[in-house]
């Protein structure tokens, strides 16, 4: 069964702006799905419509087989939403926010209290349960929104840029948590601007550009489309002349640092073999940007050219 099925979804705002131009998407149960696109591409509008925060103009949305128009309550019961912006009452206590959300889903108070405790402990917020939400740090607020979204045990969790503005440590721990609940059976849809995040978490990916789905595939196939990858090499000693290596283009950053674009056909082994022949020793290496990011930028640039 599909966790989410979107057909011919259109959204035209009252000012005439067309945010979605009839998109189609199917997301399988148990998937970890990335929805990518630049700012204003239409990602948040899709999420808004699926979670009943935005009225659609036309099209249909089914959540675990429940049509959002015909059986809205059953559909809503399947979804947990972590929105992009903090949207809880800043004056309410952390515990009260999560308990109230359970109540909105019809969970009796005694059970709501138990579930709120479980969720807050999972998200390491139990110690903060009696603090007003405005007193939490940015990372804690993000975790509070995840705890709130999970309290009714949804089958589909939608996260709209959940790690925006949080530090690396918290981001990594959130990734581990999301992997854990996905492994336990929760379908996850994620929008993010950190393409590294999508690459390391998601199995399928759709890219929206100007209200249209321009790519919808699995992550492995997508990464294969990335022709080249950029690495930053730290050299053991300064090299005066930049060598010519087939399938690679080298840009000098400084006398001991190079940026090297390596073609997928050549690969890193060939690059290092050639460097070794030239007696150029590499002491360190890192990705300049990840493959998905390069491919994504390329795609957006192609679309811009196409539009011209």
């Amino acid at each position: 069964m599909n966790a989410l099925e979107i057909k011919n979804l259109e959204k035209r705002y009252s000012n005439g702006f067309v945010a979605l131009k009839g998109i189609n998407l199917s997301i399988k149960q148990g998937d970890f799905f990335a929805l990518l696109g630049s700012n204003g591409a239409g990602k948040s509008t899709v999420i808004g419509i699926v979670s009943s925060l935005v009225n659609k103009t036309s099209g249909s949305v089914k959540v675990f087989g429940f049509d959002l128009d015909q059986e809205p309550e059953e559909a809503k019961r399947c979804i947990g939403l972590v929105p992009q912006e903090f949207n809880f009452n800043q004056f309410e206590k952390v515990f009260d926010i999560v308990v109230a959300q359970a109540g909105y889903y019809g969970i009796p108070r005694k059970e709501a209290l138990r579930r709120a405790e479980v969720c807050l402990k999972q998200l390491e917020l139990w110690d903060k349960r009696n603090e007003a939400s405005r007193e939490l740090s940015g990372g804690m607020k993000r975790r509070l929104m995840i705890a709130r979204a999970l309290v009714h045990e949804p089958k589909l969790l939608i996260l709209d840029e959940p790690t925006a503005g949080v530090d690396i440590e918290i981001r990594r721990s959130m990734w581990d948590f999301l992997k854990e609940i996905n492994a336990a059976g929760t379908t996850i849809i994620l929008t993010t601007h950190y393409l590294e995040e999508a690459e390391s978490l998601c199995r399928h990916i759709a890219i929206i550009n100007k209200g249209e789905v321009v790519e919808n595939t699995d992550m492995t196939s997508l990464l294969e489309k990335a022709d080249e990858e950029c690495f930053v090499l730290s050299l053991e000693r300064a090299v005066d002349a930049v060598p010519e290596i087939d399938g690679c283009s080298i840009t000098v950053v400084d006398e001991r640092t190079w940026k090297v674009n390596v073609s997928k056909k050549v690969g890193l082994n060939a690059l290092f073999a050639d460097l070794d022949k030239l007696d150029i020793k590499v002491s360190g290496m890192r990705n300049e940007s990840n493959r998905l990011e390069q491919w994504f930028l390329g795609l957006l640039s192609e679309n811009r050219e196409g539009a011209k």
Partner: protein
């Protein structure tokens, strides 16, 4: 049959609303009690003793029902308008919109919050009034019914105001320029028999006039209008405003894109 889940959701909204106005009781409950006490003191005791009688009652006894109801009206209205607008402003209305709650549960939840605040303030003001007058309540059942219906009507009106409001100014414009004149011209301080014929007829278009008079009837035992016509007008307004509110909620006016 109403599903159990709806009742839990309704209970959650009412509990949240009550917790809100009780947490900030200095801003929500106390001001009306102080203002009404001042009205009792100045208009009732100081000026009222010089006015003499109104419709055969001491002036203080005449204005007490209207002042109590004025407190109920303004508190029921302001509770819902500020709470629901605040919920929109902070976007935590989304917590309810994503949940499987029908529109009527959200509406009833907010109205109940407004009615509860109106009732609490109304009872406090009634208690204070006992220090100024030897009031006896002629019809307690009618009094409680008017308390509730007035609370429902003005909570619903506050809800509609909050739905359309786009700024904090918008939630104070209606109370200042519409609600206050309606209350003051609704026969709280005078009998419409004192007015010229034209103004008497105009007063009959004011819904507050009917509430004040039915409430006055419940305490004093008589008023400017019949009980039936008073209740009929109140109920018509309630049905009308609830219908409008449900329509606005189901279309997502002011809360959805």
């Amino acid at each position: 049959m109403i599903r159990k889940e709806y009742l839990v959701a309704l209970q959650t909204i009412v509990y949240k609303e009550m917790r809100r106005f009780l947490r900030i009781w200095v801003q929500t409950l106390l001001p009306s009690i102080i203002t009404t006490t001042l009205y009792f003191l100045i208009f009732g005791t100081l000026i009222g003793s010089r006015i003499g009688q109104m419709n055969g009652y001491d002036y203080m006894d005449f204005i007490v029902p209207g002042l109590i109801l004025m407190a109920v009206i303004s508190n029921a209205y302001s509770n819902v308008v500020s709470s629901f607008y605040g919920t929109k402003f902070q976007r935590n209305i989304e917590e309810m919109l994503v949940a499987p709650i029908p529109s009527w549960v959200i509406l009833v939840g907010y109205i109940s919050g407004g009615v509860m605040r109106g009732l609490i303030v109304g009872l406090c003001v009634t208690t204070v009034s006992l220090f100024f007058t030897d009031m006896t309540i002629a019809h307690p059942f009618i009094m409680v019914t008017v308390f509730l219906l007035t609370g429902i009507l003005f909570s619903t009106a506050g809800f509609i105001n909050a739905v359309y409001a786009k700024s904090f100014d918008d939630i104070s414009i209606v109370p200042t320029f519409v609600l206050t004149p309606l209350i003051y011209l609704g026969g709280v301080f005078y009998s419409i028999e004192l007015l010229p014929a034209f103004w008497q007829k105009l007063s009959l278009l004011n819904p507050v006039f009917y509430m004040v008079n039915v409430f006055r009837h419940s305490i004093l035992g008589e008023s400017d209008i019949s009980l039936m016509s008073g209740f009929a007008v109140i109920l018509i307004f309630i049905i009308l405003l609830i219908g409008i509110s449900l329509r606005l909620l189901s279309k997502g006016v002011g809360i959805k894109n």
